[in-house]
Structures are given as C-alpha cells and as structure tokens.
Symmetry: C2
Subunit: 373 residues, 2 copies
C-alpha cells in the first residue's frame, strides 16, 4: 500500500547515503520505549521520539531475520543482525510515519509474527502491529470519560447460511435511557481486514467516547461487519462481486440491527462509510440503494461523481478523504465538483500519512461531527 | 499442565514402540481436515477423525522446526521434517485429547506462532490454537438459534488508575424486554489467560445460546474481566496477592455492572466461578466476601472445605469440577464432605480430558442449569 512513498524515499536515501555514508547519518535519539500495542510485559518492539522502530527477536540458530517494516535494503524492511547474546536486533533506517503499521518477520524464509507484538487482522492474516506515537494521538487515547460498549453480535444470514459476526458500538448511556433512538453508521474495513479492524486498529470506540465527552457530536451507533463475503480464495479483488455483501448488509444485517437496537430506522438515520476497499463497497452500495442510506463517506476509497447519483435530494452528506501521501488532489477535485453540482460535500486530507490507519482514525474524527445534522 | 499424563503416555509408548517398531504402529486414517480455529483460508494445521494433528510450516532455510504439541521425542512435541517442496511437515505421534489445545512453533530456537492458526491468549502470550473435534462438540457449536451479545465494556477503576476492560454476555432478548432483570455470573480465566479466554477458547456465549434455546436454563449475564491485576512481571504465581483483583472486582466492576446493566443486584443474583487460577481467586474472594456472592464454582481450581465457610446459610450452591485426567477423587471427596455438612454441593468430572478448555466448557454447561434456582 505504501509502495510509492517507500520507493520515493528509498531513492532519496540511496543517493544521500552513498554520498555521505557515515558522516551524514541522522543521530538516533536513545529514548526508545515499548510500542503501546505490544503483548503484555514485552519490551520489544520499541519506538523512539523520532519515529524509529527497533526490533529484537530470539531465534538463536537462525541464519536470517528480516522485519518487513522500514526502509533498509533494496527490498525495504529492516534486516536484523545477530548480537553476542544470540538475539537478532535492528533499527529502521529512518523514522516511520506516525500511527499504526502492520508488519511481520521473515525467519529463514518463513513468515511469522513478532512474538513481542499484538496481532491485528490485515492482508488476510493476523499480522504484527506497531504504533508510532502521533503528535495528535490524544483524540484516540483511552481517557477517564464515560465509555461506550463494543458489542459482538451474531446475526442470522440466510444468504450465506450461517450466523455472521458484527460489532456494534453503543455510546455511553445507551443502556440507561431506554426510549432514546440513535442513528447508525455502517462502517467498513479494507481489503484483507475484517470486522475487528475499526475497533482494534482504528480505536473508533475511543474516538467516539472522546468526541461525545467533549460535546462535539450527537451520539450514534456504529455497526461493523465483514465485507469480503464472497472472497473464498483470499486471492485478491479480481473476482470481487458486490452482490453477496450487499445482500448481507442491506437485507440481513440492517433489519437485525433495527430490530435489536434502538435505531432511527430511516434513510435519514443511516450512513455508510468505508476505508479503501470498504470505500469502494460504500460507493457501490449507496448508489445501488439510495433509499437505504443518506450519508456517504469514502476514506481512501475513491470518489463520487455527480453523474453517478440518481436522485440528489436523497443525499445529505458526501465525505471524501485520504492521506496527504496518497492522491489528495483527486479527493479535493472530486469534492469541488460535487459542491459545484449542489451537494453537501466535504473533503479531508490527513497530513503526513499514507494508506494507513492514522489516515482513517483522523478521517473518522472529522466525519463524525458532520453526520446526522 | 498435561505434563503428568504426557509423561505416563510417553513411558508407555517408549516401551511398545521399542518392542514392536514398525509393525505395531497405529494406522493413521487419512481424513485430515483444517482445524476449525485456523486463520481464514489456511489449510494447516489439520486434524483427523482419530485426533491426530498434522502441521505444515514454510521456513525454507531453517535448520529445525518443532511444534510444541504432541508426544514425539524425549521433550514432547512434534519434530517436523523438511520435505522436497521446502515445507516442514509432521504429524503428532499419537492422537491428542479432544478439545482445544494451545501450542507454538520453535524455529531455529526462536518461539513463534503457527501462521496457519488463530491465536489465543494463554501462558501470558498470544499462542496458536488447534481444535480436536470432540464427540460432544454440539453443545458449543454455532447454531441457528437466537444469539446473545458479548459486549466489551471499559469500566473506571480508581484502584488501578485506568479504565479496565471486561466482557459481558447478554442473552438473546436482553435488548428487547426493558424491564426484566438478570442474575450475573462473574467468570474468571486461568493463569496466563485474560478476559478474552472464556469467549474465544471457551465459547461460553455459544454454550449459553444453546442452553437457552433448549430451554435448559433461565438466562443470566456473564461478566469476564482480567484477574491477574497485580502480576506486573508475568513471572508466575509466587507474588500473587488477591487484594488488588478483589478490589477491582467487588468495589469497581460489580457496582459498574449493576449500574449499567439490568441485574439482580443482590447476593442471591450473583455467582462467582473460575477455572484453575480463577478457581483459586473464586475460592478466596467468595470466602472473603460472603455478602456479595451466593453461588460458587471451582473448575479445576481447588475445593472448599466446610470449616472454611463462615456462614453456611449464605451459600446456595457449591460446584466443583475437573477433568478425569486431573485429580477427580479430590473433587468427589470434597463434594461428599460438603454434602455431609449440609451444603448444596455438586461435583462434575469431564471424561477423558485434562487441565484444558474442553474440561471447562463441559463444566460450565453442567454448572449453568444449577445456578440461580
């Protein structure tokens, strides 16, 4: 996903390193601390205040240990060196972007996870994760405020002949005021991720708790389910069809949520949003089902064109975002065109981030106050 | 945990194998299928109808790959062999016990997880898991019945100066009948596990859904939180003190649950149960706090003696269980003594299982119908 920016930066580093070798190497500040998404009690991986990541892996008899994260070597990644204590150690060649990154460790040619890090579902496998502290991380921090719940539900799905899992964020107080109803955002993950991504990687529940505590939004529910319904072979997007997921979402999940939670069960009370592939799904399904959703949001997931939308009166908001290291001009231009065509359209560019979760955490924080006005 | 039974079986096998070598080796039925707790789309690990487990790990340049599960070799485990296709392959030397097992893979001396398997928190790390189909697995299967929710809550904890995580199982219909109140079981995991264990490894939510659908129990809530509150160094039990966890549970979590869920907020409506170390915690806390709980359950987690209990009138049920490969006589004797002393005490022995999760799934299924009568 970050191939472009990695390639560019690598090109730059290759030149500067070859010219200046040792002398010009940036000084690394030795204030490394364990990543905040390490397994309990684990000292490694670590990150420092500049955004460098440092790894330490035990594999005393291995010939080669390479971490997929970082900018070192022709293929990218960070090649670890075996120290005298038998541990493989290494630091990224440069600072990483702020925020969350997936990674894995290649040990003698086999792909494993870092035993020190928590795992997160991405690229159709549970990958290691690391968190580079962001200067604005306060908005998704766990704070001493009232907290909503993240509820795992199992809803019946006739079309796929099973009970399917979804997570429902219910805001603080949901359990108390038994007559109040809430609008709902159906929020989709990206390719290779699943219904755990927006909570685990995105901290969307904490973003909501904090925005509600600050009085910046009116509470709503968030529903997250698996969007790769027909991806049997986990191979890629080539065989992707929207119909199986659209059926699960619109004909099975939404009626279940409306029947089992206190929702505003009208188009005015429903948004659909998604990141990356989830944006593509949002784009297609909102256009296919104009009588189901009225608020649309694409996070690093394409754009809407005015001519694609059948009935303008049914669209209350279009939100389009991406990271500044993606294609921000495309997002801005699309929103300019939508505005000119009379839509309530908003763009957001996350500064200094690429196709990664900090872009989407920030995008969601910008989106939330605009919803259900 | 299974060291005793492994040692005994290993001793037996050593004799028979040396005497009969090839001829007497059991025929392995070639009906291997992917374990039900594999990562999506992953073919390995596999299990067959006899309970053998087969592993396949890619690490083309490794010198040694050993799976911690199985009975092969002097140290236990299964030593994989490198096949011509560069993959490391191997099958356990004998059938495994039915049910769920933790394991990991040692690659050139480093401890990693099997990239094919889902991970489960045990032994203070996220370990690989494998499921040997049990003959009675139907009781914890995902079925087409109404499903309850598993809610992640974040509750304020002054004593530990943070918001702590717990999971609350709410039965089907909880969201609908807004006046009904429910008794609550506070259910603890074992050493090295956490608040995810009873759902992920134990399937306690599915056990409940199925028992409710069959009309075998009256619905109740289950609350699961982390019980190793003061285990800073993750080293073991030697420094364990009950007070920090007791404070979190009794003074912080219970009031939060009673304030935020529709509970029967009296001792008559509260049970405490735990497996292994969670049983030890249950034992201590129920004896310390006779005015909080009235139903007690120890699952492979020790016994009560009549002389430990201050006021017999406050105890409505004592349930004590373990696997037949643990110390069933100790459990039966303790319950016999409790009954003779006038307690409503029940024992349960899980046939053919050791200190593992199938023992505890079955124990919970036996316990649930006895609660809150």
């Amino acid at each position: 996903m970050k191939q472009n920016s990695i390639a560019k930066l690598w090109g730059f580093m290759l030149c500067s390193c070859m010219a200046f070798a040792q002398t010009n190497a940036p000084a690394i500040t030795e204030d490394f601390k364990p990543s905040t998404v390490n397994q309990p009690g684990q000292e490694y991986p670590q990150v420092n205040s500049q955004g460098y990541a440092r790894f330490q892996i035990a594999a005393p008899d291995a010939k080669s240990v390479v971490v997929s994260l970082g900018l070192g070597g022709a293929k990218g990644g960070t090649t670890l060196e075996k120290a005298e204590d038998g541990l493989w150690k290494g630091t990224t060649a440069g600072p990483m972007d702020e925020g969350f990154h997936y990674y894995h460790v290649t040990v003698d040619g086999g792909v494993f996870n870092d035993p020190g890090a928590l795992n997160f579902y991405g690229s159709t496998r549970w990958e290691s994760g690391i968190e580079i502290p962001a200067h604005d991380q306060d908005f998704y921090a766990l704070k001493d405020v009232p907290h909503g719940n993240v509820q795992q539900i199992l809803f019946p799905s006739k079309s796929t002949n099973t009970s399917r899992r979804a997570y429902v964020y219910t805001p603080p107080g949901y359990h108390k005021d038994k007559s109040k109803t809430y609008p709902v955002v159906y929020l989709q993950h990206g390719w290779g991720e699943d219904e755990t991504a927006w909570s685990n990687q995105g901290h969307v529940n904490l973003i909501m708790d904090n925005l509600i505590a600050e009085g910046k939004i009116k509470p709503f529910l968030i529903v997250m389910t698996y969007g790769m319904t027909n991806e049997i072979k986990w191979g890629g997007m080539s065989s992707f069809k929207i119909e199986p997921f659209q059926t699960v979402l619109v004909d099975e999940l939404i009626p279940y949520v409306d029947a089992n939670f206190r929702t505003v069960a009208t188009p005015a009370g429903r948004a659909m949003a998604g990141l990356s592939m989830g944006g593509m799904e949002t784009h297609t399904i909102t256009l296919n089902k104009p009588d189901v959703f009225s608020h649309y949001a694409l996070l690093s997931g394409g754009v809407y064109k005015p001519e694609e939308i059948k009935d303008k009166s049914k669209v209350k908001l279009i939100f389009i975002s991406c990271g500044s290291k993606e294609r921000p001009e495309g997002v801005k231009d699309a929103v300019k065109t939508l505005k000119a065509a009379g839509y309530n359209a908003v763009s957001y560019i996350s500064e200094g981030t690429a196709h990664e979760f900090l872009t989407w955490r920030r995008s969601f924080k910008e989106l939330a106050p605009l919803l259900f006005k």
